[in-house]
């Protein structure tokens, strides 16, 4: 007769294996080297954190009209306070800044509408991609419906930074897709044109391209034909990021199994039909995280427009540092800039990671 098997009860682990004490032992003091590293880390934290808190919070001054009023010995956040509007909007007339805010609210609402089931997604996307930019442009620039004209030379601050980043990415997207298709094409001319363009752009620093855009484009145009510096810089940024975008999209295209191309061919779709209906929608889904990452780099790189004399967010802060009332607030300015950039970039990078994870499981290949 068979003996019945009853598993013995599980016992709780000994305190050496779990619990806070075990945790500390395993994670902080597991070996002499680790003890040293732990103590060293604590020392570094001790060196860095308390002084920063003291300077940035405890001894900081939050209100005031000039540096002279910052007497507490800590950070002079009053500087940021006073200049806040300029940092955000540049020299955009303050009675007109509602136009920027309105444009931001609009886009947030539009994107939020994706969550509503009943709305036609295609229609909404087209609105965002085609209608919204026009509306936003007229809101920003004015000159219609009695809106006061605001020169692009007055656009600046974080507004300009975001504008450059968003327009750069959005505009580089179609161009990048074309370049990617070109680079994968089996037509030698299309292939080499795309290849040369992509590799040339990727080989040189953004700053040389911005410099070309800001001073050289007019030399290549017939006399009298000339356009706005902001537009030229945007063209430069777009060309630059389209080369990187092309490589991201190419990665996506390569990940699409060959069978998808064949199935589309076998159904009798033409090249462009199969690209637009079958291949690109799949590839783009795969490259969204890559695009977000490109956006993050571009967003950081837009600081370089400062070198060609545009007052983006960092540029405005640099300029404000020279205000005679606020001399000696360099560190506060940089700290503020660093914080804002960090929040944007870190947030986006987390978002892209989450997206990557989501798409990873959601996109089953077959």
């Amino acid at each position: 007769m068979a003996i019945e098997f009853k598993p013995s009860p599980s016992l709780p682990p000994p305190s050496t294996a779990v619990g806070p004490v075990a945790w500390v032992r395993q994670n902080l003091f597991s070996s002499p080297l680790n003890v040293f590293l732990t103590l060293f880390s604590i020392y570094i934290i001790y060196l860095l954190v308390p002084p920063i808190i003291e300077w940035g919070i405890i001894n900081a001054t939050w209100e005031g009209a000039s540096k002279a009023e910052c007497t507490a010995g800590g950070a002079c956040w009053a500087f940021i306070n006073v200049y806040f509007e300029q940092f955000m909007y540049g020299l955009y007339p303050s009675e007109e800044t509602w136009r920027i805010n309105l444009a931001v609210i609009l886009i947030v609402l539009l994107i939020g509408m994706f969550a509503i089931k009943a709305i036609n997604k295609l229609f909404l996307s087209l609105t965002i991609l085609l209608v919204y930019p026009v509306v936003a442009y007229f809101l920003f620039a004015g000159g219609v419906f009695g809106l006061e004209v605001v020169e692009t030379s007055r656009w600046g601050g974080l507004f300009l930074t975001v504008l450059l980043g968003v327009v750069g990415i959005a505009a580089s997207f179609p161009l990048g897709a074309l370049l990617a298709l070109g680079r994968r094409s089996n037509m030698p001319v299309a292939k080499s044109v795309s290849l040369v363009f992509i590799e040339t752009i990727r080989a040189v620093p953004l700053i040389t391209i911005l410099f070309m855009a800001s001073v050289m484009i007019p030399l290549f145009l017939p006399e009298g034909l000339n356009f706005n510096k902001l537009l030229r810089v945007l063209i430069g940024i777009t060309l630059f990021s389209s080369a990187y975008m092309a490589e991201v999209i190419r990665g996506g295209l390569q990940a699409i199994p060959k069978g998808q191309y064949e199935a589309a061919d076998a159904m009798g779709l033409t090249y462009w039909q199969s690209m637009v209906l079958v291949i690109l929608p799949q590839a783009l889904k795969l490259v969204i995280p890559g695009i977000v990452n490109s956006f993050i780099s571009l967003f950081k790189d837009t600081t370089l427009v400062y070198i060609v004399g545009m007052f983006d967010f960092l540029g405005r802060i640099q300029a404000a540092n020279h205000d005679t009332n606020w001399l000696g607030t360099t560190v506060e300015g940089y700290a503020f800039a660093a914080l804002v950039y960090w929040i944007f970039c870190f947030g986006m990078s987390r978002y892209s990671m989450a997206l990557e994870r989501k798409l990873d499981t959601g996109h089953k290949r077959n």
């Binding site: 994670n27 732990t38 040189v204 410099f211 006399e223 600081t303 400062y306 070198i307 560190v331």
Partner: protein, 392 residues
């Protein structure tokens, strides 16, 4: 045979796939050529109308401006060509040092992030996430303007032995060779030869007897000891020019100007954060089974890392590392913003301004960056090929 139903209506020149692609390509080529020609002819007309001189003859003219950092001799009366060379060297030097430092920082931080010590891992994460998400230009400004403001004036320099640190840079004694220094060089060469001999011998002995000899450490010792012996024998033929505080500055000694230090620090800490992530991913990509297999063979953890994990991780690390190196080289151009005299500052800044020849100067810069990028990626491709695994 069945009847062949030919369909002549469909037989058109344009419907042939080969012809279509040919036509498309001809059109594309025509457009590219036309746009190129259009831009070029505009350029020529514009240059002529505006009386801007062209050509590279300016490279032979005296530059007339000073350059703060020059590793080859340069004076104000040197030519623009010389200035170009100086700037080129400055770009190379900062890129090379930056790559070395960033690699060290990246490896250390990447390993730290994988550390079993919770605190160390957390600190490394904070470092990486901070550096990666703040624009490089801002970091350069910080290292230049904010740190500069916090340092003392030369008179109140921080002093460590014969080293000085102040707003004007980091000063160190400058060694000056005296008579007989040649002997020391001879000694150095001899010691290197000895060290190589030792390493070869150690390898041979291992093959023969299986005994290991710590050849690398001992050869380092030999190099130091032998060189020192020759140095002593020659009667210590080296004098140091010590930095002295003078009326304005510090005179004498060697100096690392703050511009150089700021660019170097910013470039290497920024890129280092990216490299850290690459290193981490590379090490994680090596299957844990490899470590277990190595351990079960009795290899110690340090050997496991050196012989098993790192060689395999490198395979994964190298392609993204290449693009980080390229980025660093390109980013060195931001040094222009804080007075580091690299290519963009000297050529697209001062030279362009003195000569007005935008096309030539910007063209020169793009050429240099292009070849820099090309050579780094060629080297890396070669290395990558060498490292790649052989599969079925």
């Amino acid at each position: 045979m069945s009847n062949i139903k030919n369909t002549p209506s469909n037989k058109s020149f344009l419907n042939d796939a080969g012809n279509r692609s040919l036509i498309f390509q001809i059109v594309l080529l025509a457009v590219v050529v036309f746009v190129g020609y259009y831009l070029f002819s505009n350029l020529q007309a514009n240059l002529e109308n505006r009386g801007i001189s062209t050509g590279f003859s300016f490279l032979n003219e005296p530059a007339g401006f000073p350059i703060l950092i020059h590793l080859v001799s340069y004076t104000e009366s040197s030519t623009y060509g010389r200035a170009f060379l100086v700037a080129l060297i400055n770009t190379f030097v900062i890129s090379l040092l930056g790559i070395i430092l960033a690699t060290i920082i990246g490896v250390v931080m990447g390993l730290a992030r994988l550390s079993k010590n919770w605190l160390v891992a957390r600190l490394a994460t904070v470092y990486i996430e901070t550096m990666r998400n703040i624009p490089l230009l801002l970091q350069m400004f910080f290292w230049y303007f904010a740190v500069l403001a916090a340092l003392p004036v030369p008179r109140n320099s921080y002093e460590f032995a014969d080293f000085l640190l102040n707003k004007r840079g980091i000063y160190s004694p400058n060694p000056i060779a005296q008579d007989g220094f040649g002997l020391v060089i001879v000694g150095f060469i001899v010691s290197i030869a000895l060290a190589i001999g030792l390493i070869v011998w150690a390898k041979k002995r291992q093959t023969r007897t299986g005994l290991w000899f710590p050849a690398y450490w001992s050869s380092l010792g030999i190099i130091l000891a032998v060189t020192f012996l020759f140095f002593a024998a020659a009667g210590f033929p080296l004098e140091f020019d010590l930095p002295q505080k003078s009326r304005f500055n510090v005179t004498g000694g060697m100096v690392l100007p703050p511009e150089f230090v700021a660019v170097l620090v910013a470039l290497s800490t920024y890129t280092g954060a990216f490299i850290a992530e690459i290193v981490r991913a590379g090490i994680l990509s090596v299957n844990w089974g490899q470590t277990e297999a190595a351990r079960s063979l009795g290899l110690r953890d340090s050997m496991t890392q050196r012989l098993i994990v790192l060689p395999q991780a490198l395979r994964v690390i190298i392609p993204p590392l290449t693009s980080q190196y390229l980025n660093l080289a390109k980013n060195s151009s931001l040094g222009a913003a804080i007075a580091y005299p690299e290519l963009v500052a000297v050529i697209m800044g001062t030279t362009l301004n003195q000569t007005g020849q935008a096309i030539e100067t910007i063209g020169l810069c793009m050429l240099v960056y292009g070849s820099l990028s090309l050579s780094i990626s060629l080297f890396m491709n070669w290395y990558n090929k060498k490292m790649s695994l052989i599969e079925r």
